[in-house]
């Protein structure tokens, strides 16, 4: 699966989509809950726009088709693991066809907060067959890069407790009752999710980033990785002493 080029389908072309028309860049930020993805996507977006790129940012359950249905289903207490997986897959397919692909056709940089890998990790953590969900998600596009913000469960716990101040039912995998309280549930569930993502990191060539550091350090790492010969840099205003952008990240 990972031998394909960026912006090709993993294994299952979407009917009616011509891969050769896709020209932008697709960057994926992956990682477990509470690791700080959203912060990083926000910083990256701002930076890339300042560099003169058109950016689309998108994330799970934000699609117009299924986003609301997913939130409502999660608000109740009857959403089963199979249904959850397929609901998220539907939402992803909707965003892929109606937001991501049109943006790529137009030459945008697409930043996605989570991707097929989180859908797979959550499904696998719930005991679903890996090959089943992998085949279904074969209609995903190969990204230019997957940045995996990796942290261990202890670190995630401290971010939840010191940050938000409370555990969330779904992030604690309480639908599967991995523990009989949300702390134990969180630890058990997120351990499984991280394990699944670690396996994928090898298989799908993730760029693994140590997310236990400060947001600024993580961001600097991401900037360094993204700034590559392939990414066009915007023209700069000359600074007062004639040198160009002394605070810009270095190229590789």
């Amino acid at each position: 699966m990972h031998l394909k080029n960026p912006l090709q389908f993993y294994s299952e072309p979407l009917p009616g989509v011509d891969e050769s028309e896709l020209q932008g860049k697709l960057y994926v930020i992956e990682g477990p809950d509470a690791v700080g993805r959203t912060t990083q996507v926000g910083k990256l977006r701002q930076w890339l726009e300042q560099e003169g790129h058109a950016v689309l940012d998108t994330g799970m359950a934000r699609g117009t088709l299924a986003g609301k249905g997913i939130q409502q289903a999660k608000a109740g207490n009857t959403l089963g693991p199979l249904t959850m997986t397929l609901y998220y897959t539907t939402d992803f397919a909707d965003r892929l066809e109606n937001e991501i692909i049109p943006a790529l056709r137009a030459g945008f940089i697409v930043l996605t907060d989570r991707y097929v890998f989180s859908i797979m990790a959550r499904a696998i953590a719930r005991g679903e067959d890996r090959r089943w969900i992998e085949q279904i998600l074969g209609f995903g596009l190969v990204p230019h890069a997957v940045y995996y913000l990796r942290a261990d469960v202890k670190h995630l716990v401290s971010r939840v407790v010191l940050g938000r101040g409370a555990f969330d039912y779904w992030e604690s995998g309480m639908d599967m009752r991995f523990g009989n309280n949300m702390y134990d549930g969180f630890v058990q569930y997120q351990t499984r999710v991280i394990r699944a993502l670690d396996v994928m990191a090898k298989k799908y060539d993730f760029v693994t980033i140590d997310a236990s550091r400060s947001p600024d350090l993580i961001f600097r790492d991401l900037q360094n990785h993204i700034t590559s010969p392939g990414l066009q840099r915007a023209p700069e205003f000359p600074s007062a002493n004639g040198a160009n952008g002394s605070r810009r990240p270095r190229k590789h």
Binding site: E12, L14, P15, G16, T64, L65, A66, K68, G69, Q72, A73, G76, T78, L79, G80, P81, L82, T83, T85, L86, Y87, T89, T90, A93, D94, E97, N98, W132, Q135, I136, G138, F139
Partner: protein, 243 residues
């Protein structure tokens, strides 16, 4: 390819398939009543009926938001909910579950929309294989006639208007439903459909179905199924629920 997961539960799964206007729903309803009258616990599940998903589907259809892949996936999501929360537990408990449309509807419709055969079969691989699958074969004209007599108009997705087959709704319906029929016909022997001629009278079709149920499930109808003893049949007012 071995379709779907074998039914290892105590209960029995009976499904009806066919295009709209084939009369399958009427026949399944009659069959359910008959089985209930015989004292079996009968549960009924129909396509597009999950409380968690049907609003999303309805809205998506109304606003024409679906593409072939999302159309396929939302229906699979609906099916997954009915499967894991309703069909599977009831089969395990020994009920006879009657489903109006099943995975084969997806195999026929989604493929007619251009989705990969292999992909959609994998998608539904978690579904329990029916003990009996009935396919109601009906000429397109008869089906269209029945639909138009029953309601005002043909619907957008039902007519395959999203596929730009024709500007005329009825012509689009013909082409699209014709393609669906082709898919059903081509899977008939692989699935093991019992084909019912939908142009026969209602009574004739029902007799055929009952005969097949007795022949095919015969002994199975005695073992493991939940059944009311004669003294119990009056104790319950409504033997089974509809999702």
């Amino acid at each position: 390819m071995s379709l779907l997961s074998p039914n290892r539960y105590r209960g029995k799964l009976i499904v009806v398939e066919g295009i709209d206007g084939s009369g399958k729903s009427t026949q399944l309803s009659l069959l359910s009543h008959w089985l209930r009258a015989k004292g079996y616990a009968v549960a009924f599940s129909e396509w597009n009926s999950s409380p968690l998903v049907k609003e999303t589907t309805r809205r998506g259809k109304r606003k024409e938001m679906f593409r072939p892949t999302t159309f396929s996936l939302i229906h699979a999501t609906d099916f997954a909910d009915r499967s894991e929360r309703y069909i599977t537990p009831l089969l395990k408990a020994g009920a006879v579950v009657c489903a109006d449309r099943y995975a084969y509807t997806a195999f026929a419709r989604d493929v007619a929309r251009g989705v990969s055969k292999r992909w959609v079969r994998n998608l539904y691989s978690f579904a329990t294989r029916p003990n009996l699958s009935f396919y109601f074969r009906v000429p397109l004209d008869v089906a269209i006639g029945r639909i138009l007599r029953g309601r005002a108009a043909l619907k957008y997705y039902e007519a395959g208007m999203d596929l730009r087959l024709s500007r005329d709704v009825e012509e689009s319906f013909r082409i699209f439903q014709g393609n669906i029929v082709d898919e059903y016909e081509s899977m008939a022997s692989e699935v093991g459909f019992h084909v019912i001629d939908a142009t026969l009278t209602i009574e004739q079709q029902q007799m055929q179905m009952r005969k097949i149920v007795i022949e095919e499930l015969g002994a199975g109808l005695e073992n493991g199924l939940l059944r009311y003893s004669p003294s119990e049949t009056h104790a319950f007012e409504k033997p089974s629920a509809v999702l």
